[in-house]
């Protein structure tokens, strides 16, 4: 009986370690729950928080927005136009690889953006919303939430 308890104890410990290990190896930018939190906050955040949650330079479709002011204007205009990531659901989350940029656009501009500005652990996230599907680039983190590095769409 004593041995049986010991085996169960070791098994439970292993499961716990595996769970902790899995959590620590998936970067926040590739975790679905964190990405959903990011999208929800992008829909409601105040301008200063939007800038905090957004990387600069920012990739909008195939264009690199180099100035924070442009990123701020983009969010303000989107809000003004009534745009939100409404009912967003995550379809796929992929780690960035050498040819991930092609999913956004097969251009030199986008390739260089991926090479230079996306941090380690960044993700390419496909989402669907009531406005269509988007590719969202996530990376880094602000507290527990990943930062948005860009988006392309709707497609």
């Amino acid at each position: 009986m004593k041995n049986k308890n010991r085996v169960w104890g070791v098994a439970a410990l292993l499961v716990l370690l595996l769970t902790i290990s899995a959590c620590s190896t998936v970067p926040p930018a590739q975790r679905e729950d964190r990405i959903v939190q990011l999208l929800a906050e992008l829909d409601t955040a105040e301008p200063a928080r939007l800038l905090e949650l957004s990387a600069t330079p920012f990739l909008l479709d195939g264009e690199i927005l180099a100035r924070e002011a442009d990123v701020g204007t983009m969010w303000a205009n989107l809000r003004e136009a009534g745009f939100r990531f409404d009912d967003a659901s995550v379809v796929t989350v992929a780690a960035v690889s050498a040819d991930s940029y092609v999913r956004v656009e097969d251009t030199r501009n986008v390739r260089v953006y991926f090479d230079r500005y996306l941090p380690e652990g960044a993700g390419v996230v496909e989402i669907t919303t009531v406005h269509g599907s988007f590719l969202v680039l996530t990376g880094d983190k602000v507290g527990r939430i990943p930062r948005i590095f860009g988006f392309a769409g709707p497609r």
């Binding site: 264009e63 690199i64 927005l65 442009d70 701020g72 983009m74 260089v112």
Partner: protein, 340 residues
Amino acid sequence: MNTRQLRLSAAAVLILAAFTVQLSAQDASVSYLEGEPELRRSDGSMEWLDYGGFASPGESIITGSFDYVELSQGDEATIRIQSDTIYTVREVNRDGRRETVLSTAAGSVSFRFNRLSGREPRIGTETAVAGVRGTEVTVYSGPDGSSLFLVESGLVEVSSGGESVELAENEGVEVPVGRAPGEKFSIIGREIDFSSWSAGRIDDFLSDPVAALDRIEIQLQSFSRDADEWYERAEAAEAVSDAAREELGKIEGAEEQAKYREETWLPLVEQTSAAVLNYRYNALSALSLRRYSLSSLYMEMKSRNILDPAPEYGEFVARYNELREKFGGMFDEYLEDTDL
């Protein structure tokens, strides 16, 4: 990148390195800053800017929404870089002389040159440059590529589209992208600030978005013609320089060799260097126009039309895509990945 460009670029690097010591004397360093401004190195890497830091030729200082940077060049100059601005330092060879161009690629920069000197830098935007003499001047670069020069003291000669206008104290001029400077005006009694001017430029753009892209194309074509011309000159100069270097190897006698090197080969190398510098200057100016104006205009249209596109949106996007395609054809071979 093709082999020919590679060779020219290598030559440029060698020659630029040779001039580094001379150029460093013109660097203005950070004497005050607020926020977290960044320095973009010529290799494309980014780092935080700190006190004592400076932008060398090929580098840019980028300020965010809550940043401010003041650069000082001893007692000679003060450069004030406002928030949301991209300030670049470039070099160009003009009339056989290497010149530094302090450029407001986007946003607002004020320059104060305290005393006259033989070689004051040129200032400007990506689309208009100005020679200065003992000057206090503010330069705005708008989202549509337009420029605004406001002179508080001294003299400024603003050039664009092959035409120039001279500004004196309390005068200003707007330079639309791809065009000559407009009529100069008095700034006395006029409240002009960057954000309201910039908002006006956006309103103008929105009234006819395709026309704004047409104007940008005119400017890009101008950069392209100049870049092509200088590239051809660089190729020709390099061929002559290579032949001279071979000849140098055949000369016997140290004294004769040194004489040939000084009097024949080095001047040819400098010619090549000047031509490389100039085709790169034009290509980089075009890249800035694309990066800081075309992208900004696209963002304005996309973000406003994402749900219910206005009738003109489709035409704008078609013209925008056409322009991007043309940009690649005109400049891709002159630009390195590190430039982007």
